[in-house]
Symmetry: C2
Subunit: 504 residues, 2 copies
């Protein structure tokens, strides 16, 4: 028995090393594909990714490895807590992986190697038909994936939701969104019927890209982004991608007629990057590095972006620097006007450009549509019409083009369904975390000194350093001394926007 366990440990560690090397490759290929790979390389690249994916699949389904994982799982009580948590999660995914036929895994991987590029082209040309066949096949393979994994307890869309936020089901999300709808929808109506009195013409002037880059560098300094372990680049859709704690990269997209966009993309992505970089580096050689879950990851990016980044305290020392870089464009603009501009609420088309208050409505659209798509209740042919109808119903506006509608997000092109709802949940986590942080940190004082370093430090100790060694709900509870409550999110939003919009 002793020997069997020792051998299983050794085999598992070998397996883990190889898998981490494969993840390293995946990280680099994805980074390159999304930032600079030439258009003409993608069909060849798809072929290579199929080969690599086939090898990875063979490794993950090697009966010897699966046996080793089973032995460790059976003896999990003799493992240290970190390893115990890891093996429970690994056992879950190998139980899953053996249920998906290899040819489907390989096909999906080959598809995803080029799909994001096809999507970018389709979006660019406002041509849904160009993307449709790829999306259709991605959905079919996802539906098949769900079918293979269904259990008597967990069915349909729940399978995908559970992968991104363990323990959160359609029932939980329905309840969460119902709570938001009940209290927020009437509040949003009040807010959008009020107009903020200020001159907003500065927001749409021309802000040259090179100058915007200069300001991105200042944001990196304020947030203490460690450039020796990362870099900032451009891509169609901003994202963060890293390998371990020693290489964590971010991208933004600069719009010359909307300079505010890249500022908050940068803060958002640097929030993700701060999380990744502050994980205990000894976890780099395990599967327990990185964030605890997607919602926990989004809680960090949204905490920095919305709660910190859109506050007057954050901008008091920074706004003069922004004016130095754009003296003409921001001539005569007061900090108070700028704060109004970055917290302006309006029913708009683009999720990534949506304000903090209406953002959850964008998520509800995607959540409802994903349920329909995965359950097969609508087809990709109907999708643009369905999209437009939901936008009209929730946001009250017409969608003038698919580029600003169904083609706006990269996620489905990346094969990710069940991911969107974690964005809204992340915002709710962030509000609860903010409430707890305030008891320990003088956030106002820290920000007025021109840096997030004390905030980073609190998050490191309470959340980041644990990586994925615990479940998100455990981390949330230990950091905030409470279970998850949607109430704090609703309270935070109503308090903040009542003040800005002077609503009693």
């Amino acid at each position: 028995m002793e020997e069997k366990f020792t051998n299983a440990t050794k085999l598992y560690e070998e397996y883990r090393k190889k898998q981490l090397a494969n993840r390293f490759v995946g990280f680099l290929v994805n980074w390159d594909s999304q930032t600079e790979a030439p258009d003409g390389c993608f069909s060849e690249r798809g072929r290579q990714m199929e080969v690599l994916s086939e090898e990875n699949y063979k490794l993950s389904t090697d009966p010897k490895i699966i046996e080793a994982i089973n032995i460790l799982f059976e003896n999990k009580d003799s493992l240290d807590p970190i390893m115990q948590h890891e093996i429970i999660e690994v056992k879950k995914s190998t139980d899953k992986i053996v249920k998906i036929p290899m040819e489907e895994v390989i096909e999906m991987s080959g598809l995803l190697a080029s799909s994001q590029n096809i999507w970018a082209k389709a979006k660019n040309e406002n041509n849904y038909e160009l993307f449709k066949p790829t999306l259709k096949r991605i959905i079919e393979l996802t539906q098949s994936y769900v079918k293979h994994l269904e259990t008597p307890k967990l069915k349909g869309y729940n399978i995908l939701l559970d992968e991104f936020e363990p323990g959160f089901t359609v029932k939980d999300y329905d309840a969460f969104f119902e709570a938001l709808k009940k209290d927020l929808v009437p509040f949003v109506k009040k807010v959008t019927s009020t107009t903020l009195q200020y001159n907003d013409s500065f927001a749409t002037l021309n802000y040259p890209k090179e100058k915007q880059k200069e300001f991105s560098n200042i944001i990196q300094e304020v947030m203490k982004y460690d450039k020796s372990r990362g870099l900032m680049k451009e891509s169609e859709h901003p994202f963060t991608s890293g390998f371990g704690t020693s290489d964590v990269r971010v991208t933004v997209h600069y719009y010359e007629d909307n300079f505010i966009s890249a500022i908050f993309s940068a803060i958002h992505e640097l929030g993700h990057a701060t999380y990744e970089m502050q994980v205990d580096p000894t976890l780099d050689t395990t599967f327990s590095g990185g964030g605890a879950s997607l919602a926990m990851h989004e809680s960090q990016s949204r905490f920095y972006e919305n709660i910190i980044g859109r506050s007057p305290d954050f901008w008091r020392p920074l706004f003069p620097k922004l004016k130095e870089i754009f003296p003409k464009q921001l001539k005569g603009v007061r900090l108070a006007d700028f704060i109004k501009q970055i917290n302006k609420v309006e029913n708009s088309l683009i999720r990534t450009e949506a304000d903090e208050l209406t953002y959850p409505l964008h998520i509800m659209i995607r959540y409802d549509i994903e349920k329909l798509l995965i359950n097969g209740d609508i087809t990709v042919d109907e999708l643009p019409q369905v999209w437009n109808k939901y936008v009209k119903d929730y946001l009250g506006i017409d969608v003038p083009s698919d580029r600003e509608g169904v083609l706006q997000d990269i996620h489905w092109a990346g094969g990710t369904f069940g991911y969107f709802p974690t964005y809204a949940l992340g915002s709710a986590y962030a509000a609860q975390i903010h409430r707890a942080m305030k008891k320990d940190v003088n956030i106002k004082k820290s920000l007025e000194a021109g840096t997030t370093v004390e905030i980073n430090q609190w998050l490191k100790e309470k959340i980041h350093k644990f990586g994925a060694t615990k479940y998100p709900k455990e981390i949330l509870k230990s950091a905030t001394k409470e279970n998850f409550k949607a109430k704090y999110y609703i309270d935070y939003l109503i308090k903040k926007y009542s003040k800005i919009y002077n609503i009693k």
Copy 2:
């Protein structure tokens, strides 16, 4: 027998697919490492590369694969000519690979993952000591590599030379360099004792990087570089790196006080890229894509850089465009002055900045030193002194710093010994190819129309499309109707520089 052969073919094709996928990974990791990876990622990256290298090694030494290769080799007469050539070469390298112990392969791979970064830092800080321990270990592993591969016929440095240019030994290179020394050294003395009469002050003015990039774009257009299958970026040392014909990338390095450097780096690297891109694309799925040999590759880059790129015909339509981009810096500069500047001969320190005529002397320094290093006749402690002595002997100048001396080249940091001599051989191939091309193409007319398209086309048909399906000597012979002759190179240089320097 029939079945055994069919199975071997199937196994070999599977193996080739996996190896090509591994090459794809190597291409991307190298590209990232040399262009943008953050400093802090390299030790972790080294660990991942060791794991990947171990897997690759296991694949290449799998007894089933080796058996399959042996079966195909024994039955090579029944293979088509391309496959026959490929299997002969593959057999050679598997015969080699089984002789190198796995731990040495893994150690070298781990070392090389970080060595180029260490070298760049050492060069930047002019600190040879920083690089020395890494270089020492690279040389020890290379010596050990050589020992493992020695045969009664082929010993020492020859092992490395043969890998880069099959069939070229110390004896051949000694003869080649002796011929150059005999005719060129006295000629170089005549040239360097003559001074060109013109005002060269424009050459060292400040040329902003962004403007230099603009001109690089024009060069890309002139040379018909297909940007849908490649991109140009910056790195410490310019290079070309590609995967198949669908993704061929180049880098340059811009010096604001030496604008001519990046121009010729660009032409040089685009010469390499043109070769790679013009290979028959059906070879992408085989091991017979890419260039026929290093010298053949260098013959193409040097053909474009020196024979074409430094000719008045090339610059006649292009020089006005250069003046448009740099109107202040090039005010009053005549084409004739510019041509003198880009063909100025002087005994200088930096190989990559050396002129066409003294360049072979720089190669001789490296060739002689590599022989000493690999044979263990000098140590890494003595290396900077030995380097400086050779520079004094061949070029007649003192080396003021290691940055401009032994640290100037990336090659040894990349574990490549035996590579340098192919640069000089490539120039000699280029002269012989030029002589043949002139019979078919009106080069002057073509260049004056502002494009290299007819030259590209001739090279594609005579050289590029064959990829590595034939030996370089066969390709040279079929393209030029002659065996290799050093004479054409010497004739070309003496004729060209006699005219420029007005030497009778």
